[in-house]
């Protein structure tokens, strides 16, 4: 176990999440990509805390931040989808973009 291994794991999760966020048409699936990316951020922050600055709590605060962002993003995401769905019965990013036109 070393810092690099944990960071590689973080990078892998981040990239997989990014791929999902970029490719998925559905807003909900896009959010799942974001969640995965944030999962990568959490691993990275925790590893940096453990291997570099265990005395300071900043790494931990970053993890708290990431977890909160996950929750907020999810809640807002579903509220938006519900609102869109109610208004136009749309749940896809492409269709939402068309609505603007």
């Amino acid at each position: 176990m070393s810092l690099e291994l944990f960071l590689l794991l973080a990078a892998a999760l981040f990239s997989v999440g990014l791929f999902g966020a970029l490719t998925q048409q559905s807003i909900v699936m896009l959010m799942m990509g974001l969640e995965l990316m944030l999962g990568g951020v959490i691993v990275g922050a925790a590893a940096v805390w453990h291997y570099i600055t265990p005395a300071a709590a900043d790494g931990q605060v970053l993890v708290v931040l990431a977890v909160t962002v996950m929750a907020v993003e999810m809640a807002i995401g579903f509220a938006v989808v519900t609102a869109l769905f109610r208004a136009r019965e749309v749940d896809m990013t492409d269709m939402a973009a068309e609505l603007k036109e």
Binding site: T82, F85, R86, E89
Partner: protein, 432 residues
């Protein structure tokens, strides 16, 4: 016998029973319930939990399909027996248990059957392995059915799908369509028939529901064919016989009314999930019917009625469900306690309880019942239509927009008796 065989036989010494009643067989249902309870056998509420399917009543040929469906969705060792006559249920259960024990003990260890296709053969075997009263005519046809649409427990739920491809079929199941719902979201609709095999459910009633989530959007009321015949509906029997000119005591009529309301209350309490009170209601019902004396049972009955009437959690739980004000009820032709209650499910329950307590006074009354008194437990039997018909007619209005659990409570709080649908207008009285 090896240890495993012994264990298997022991395990099946009290099989779980799923009792299904056909219209016109109320008396058999009561006998079966009392007998199963006396033996302490577990009662299954779904085919998946049952070992033994006990059909009370004579199935018509068209019933074979949904009964097969239920039997198919029971786990091995599944056994079906048909009890068509009074007084023979105990014997039938004994035979069925022996059969189940033998079949489990001698079963070879094989992987569970894969699909319904494989299990059809088993069914042949088990249908013929029955005693005489279990044999069922007209039951040779074993097509590869889709699960019968009457079936209470759908093996499929069409919760998937989108309007883009709504017409398709997936895995042999129809896809769902979307429709506007109560909360103005266009979500998938699910067409679910519920009944007649559901436990704590009016015998023979089928509701074809359109559900969104668990909210009822559309209700169609349907029922199994009710056999027309000389047999009078069980719960209305004393009054109808008196109207025919036979001699019926007031006591036996009061007894029947008491038992009918206890049956309904037990059903409602079971659906509400108060098992303790439901079980007590049913036990008292079975004591009242065969003729427990007023002194013997009055105390228990009053205590129970008071306990239910005073329960604040119960009131909190069901008040406000299925509001049926008297003017609307009268317009729909509802008579009896549901009209007198003039309110929601809770008021109807209280009305049953108060009628039970009132009836208690007359329990041992030996004076003859007046032939023109035709108010049965569910309403006036001399109206243009049987009282349960009116109860069925108000169902769609009350159920639309209710959640599944509330819908079940509303149905149980009206508790229509489908046996009454076979009732021809009483000659000479109806038009008097």
């Amino acid at each position: 016998m090896d240890l495993r065989g012994v264990l298997r036989r022991t395990a099946m010494s009290r099989p779980a029973v799923l009792a299904v009643t056909l219209p016109g067989a109320t008396e058999l249902r009561l006998e079966a319930e009392a007998e199963v309870r006396r033996r302490g056998w577990p009662v299954a509420h779904a085919p998946a939990a049952a070992d033994l399917l006990l059909v009370c009543g004579d199935p018509a040929p068209e019933d074979a399909e949904w009964l097969d469906g239920i039997e198919r969705s029971m786990p091995e060792p599944a056994l079906r027996i048909v009890a068509g006559e009074r007084g023979r249920i105990a014997a039938a259960l004994d035979v069925a248990r022996e059969d189940l024990r033998d079949r489990t003990a001698t079963r070879r260890d094989s992987s569970p059957p894969e699909a319904s296709g494989d299990r059809r053969h088993d069914h042949h075997r088990m249908d013929h392995g029955q005693s005489d009263h279990a044999a069922q005519p007209g039951h040779e046809e074993h097509g590869h059915h889709q699960p019968a649409d009457h079936q209470a427990h759908m093996d499929h739920m069409d919760h998937m799908g989108h309007d883009m491809h709504a017409m398709g079929e997936v895995a042999g199941l129809p896809m769902a369509e979307r429709g506007d719902d109560r909360d103005e979201l266009r979500l998938d609709q699910l067409h679910v028939p519920i009944g007649p095999a559901l436990s704590d459910w009016p015998t023979g009633l089928i509701l074809r529901l359109t559900l969104q989530g668990d909210v009822v959007q559309v209700v169609e009321v349907d029922h199994l064919p009710v056999p027309l015949g000389p047999r009078l509906p069980f719960w209305g029997e004393p009054w109808l016989r008196a109207a025919r000119g036979e001699e019926v005591t007031r006591g036996s009529a009061a007894r029947r009314r008491c038992a009918a309301h206890l049956d309904s209350a037990g059903r409602l309490l079971a659906v509400v999930g108060w098992d303790d009170a439901a079980a007590r209601c049913r036990r008292l019902r079975d004591e009242v019917l065969p003729g427990a004396s007023r002194e013997g049972i009055g105390g228990d009955l009053r205590r129970m009625a008071r306990r239910i009437g005073r329960s604040r959690p119960l009131r909190w739980s069901i008040a406000g469900l299925g509001e049926l004000p008297a003017d609307r009820a009268r317009a729909a032709g509802v008579t009896g306690p549901s009209l007198a209650a003039d309110g929601d499910a809770y008021d109807r329950l209280l009305m049953w309880l108060s009628e039970i307590e009132r009836g208690l006074e007359e329990l041992d009354d030996t004076r003859p019942l007046a032939p023109d008194d035709l108010t049965g437990p569910r309403g006036r039997l001399d109206g243009p239509r049987p009282p349960s018909r009116a109860l069925l007619d108000v169902l769609p209005e009350l159920l639309t927009g209710a959640e599944f659990a509330c819908a079940r409570i509303i149905v149980a709080s009206l508790d229509p008796d489908l046996d009454e649908l076979a009732l021809a207008p009483v000659p000479g009285v109806a038009h008097a």
